[in-house]
Amino acid sequence: MACLRRLAAALAKALAVTAALGLLILVLLLVVDLFGRNLFGFTTTFANEWSSFVNGAVIMLAAPLALLKGEHIRVELVLMLRSRRLGRILTLLADAICVLVAAYLCYAVAAMAWESLVNDRRSTWVMRTPLWIPQAALAAGAAALVLAALHHLLSSFVSTGRGR
């Protein structure tokens, strides 16, 4: 159990670092496009297309760390009002639902990436980028999101078991 939690934390951090690098690439893509167009008179055919894909990857790759760090918004009023025991049980239930939703998102995105790979689907933009590449990045982020949600669930389970 501890091993899974360590794995989830390490993976979430590694993917968030990848997302930060992705953000840097996104900025560079847009800089090349902006300066190329305005100063040197050439248009980049790839910047618009790839920057949107990279942005999507940034969102999904950083989502697991955001979940582990408690960044995602939840309504805390009811959490504050309910009794300790009831609170722990409801937290377990909420965390279990999060695992299920994350798992379904992961399944749906992975299936989309797989179909794109098998059917050689490409973007409708100029570069005709194979769609499985950015979609695989989304699937990787979604898979790590499942692990991060499991991490939360296990933590809640452990603290409920210890009566904390």
């Binding site: 900025v27 939840r74 939703v101 749906a108």
Partner: protein, 427 residues
């Protein structure tokens, strides 16, 4: 419309037990689609994820967040406080105006209310406390002024509204300027009239006051230039929101290097930015799944027909929204409230012929009220985290500013041109 109560009960139930907002939105939409429609759910969900996260409009959101995070990492707020302190201490209400002016300027480079409260408050609250300013006015004016972050462009919540409603983000930004400035003016007037008896503040900002008026202000020029560059790029018609945000990021990188002379500051900014980007992106994914459910189940159409047949006037509808947003804003975060209600409200806006740009500003002002309304106003929590003051005390200090927000709501309902004049004039 039998699905509507089921979706709402499910959604509020999931939120109440503590499911994170994006997953509560997504789960409600998915369950409703599964119960009421035999459609390939997996395809609807994957399309919602893909379409949302790769929307080109979201690039501006990511870049504006990055710009703010780089500036936060570079400690630009301290410089801003020291630059503004010598001027504001001469006004009735003294250094309390730093909260208003600082928040208004910082709002022009950062699109979040909570981040504005945290950044300006981290510097101003300890200084004001040390100088003997009334704690009630210090934290109250900060809580109120930080709401300017939502209204003064670039505003993250306006970008999200624009993406969800498919409304021009530039028009929304333009529409936010006049109400934002009016609000800042109203906040400063409140301070000048009701909080005029304050200490002199001559020793403010770590001795900045002794350096004279201009020297500390000159040091803030890079930040002011950055805000100006973004504004000119956006409103001069030179750039799209994404390009203006890119100009902002490049400017923030220069400011950070100038202030800290450390590359590590930039790395901190990039790493810090990805989490709020992911948080907002995932909320939009959840909202998209719920919206898709509303569309596939025909709810949007039925809501429009219901509003059309109910005989609701525009004013009655808006007053209903006002009560709903202020009431729900007391118990939930404003962004969640917006993304939850927009799928239902959007068709009603069309039926009642309400301008979506005007409604965006109206909704954001209502959300601002929620930010400073107990028990869960986001700004109240941020300031409590910084100062340790009880929520009730911060809320008590913020009520004159809430009154300004309510007055602004009344003003834009009476004179919609306050909002629509600039977008119309610069179209």
């Amino acid at each position: 419309m039998v699905a509507v109560p089921v979706i709402l009960v499910l959604l509020f139930g999931l939120l109440a037990i503590g499911v994170i907002v994006p997953f509560a939105l997504a789960a409600s939409g998915m369950v409703a689609l599964e119960i009421y429609k035999s459609l390939p759910l997996e395809r609807i969900v994957s399309a919602a994820v893909w379409d949302t996260v790769t929307t080109p409009e979201l690039l501006a959101l990511s870049l504006f967040i990055l710009m703010a995070e780089i500036l936060l990492a570079s400690d630009a707020a301290r410089l801003l406080f020291r630059g503004l302190a010598p001027f504001s201490r001469r006004l009735p209400g003294g250094l309390l105006h730093v909260n208003v002016i600082g928040c208004a300027i910082f709002a022009a480079v950062c699109g979040s209310s909570a981040a504005t409260a945290a950044t300006i408050g981290k510097i101003s609250v300890p200084q004001l406390k040390a100088l003997g300013y009334s704690s009630r006015w210090s934290v109250g004016s900060l809580a109120g002024s930080a709401t300017l972050g939502l209204l003064i462009p670039p505003s993250i919540i306006l970008i999200i509204y624009g993406v969800l409603m498919q409304t021009s983000i530039i028009s929304l930004f333009l529409a936010g300027i006049v109400p934002g400035l009016l609000l800042a003016l109203a906040f400063s007037t409140v301070l000048a009239v009701f909080a005029r008896r304050q200490p002199d503040g001559a020793a403010a900002a770590g001795g900045a006051a002794e350096e004279g008026l201009w020297k500390p202000l000159l040091r803030t020029i890079p930040i002011l230039l950055l805000a100006l560059a973004v504004i000119v790029a956006l409103y001069g018609g030179y750039a799209s929101p994404t390009e203006a945000a890119l100009v902002g990021v490049l400017g923030a990188i220069l400011v950070a290097l100038l202030l800290t002379r450390r590359i590590a500051t930039l790395a901190e900014g990039f790493f810090a930015a990805v989490r709020p980007i992911a948080m907002l992106g995932l909320i939009l994914v959840g909202a998209k799944i719920l919206t898709a459910a509303f569309a596939y189940l025909g709810i949007s159409r039925e809501v429009a027909a219901y509003i059309g047949g109910s005989g609701f006037s525009k004013t009655e509808f808006l007053l209903l929204i006002l009560v709903l947003f202020v009431a729900l804003g007391c118990v939930m975060d404003g962004l969640s409230l917006l993304v939850m209600t927009l799928p239902l409200l959007a068709p009603a806006l069309v039926t009642l012929n309400i301008d979506p740009v005007w409604f965006g500003i109206f909704a954001v002002i209502l959300i601002e009220i929620g930010q400073i309304t107990p028990p869960v106003g986001m700004n109240l929590f941020v300031i409590r985290g910084m100062t340790g003051e009880p929520i009730s005390a911060i809320a008590a200090g913020a009520w004159p500013f809430m009154a300004c927000l309510l007055a602004l709501v009344a003003a834009i309902m009476t004179v919609p041109e306050i909002v629509l004049f600039l977008p119309g004039a610069l179209k």
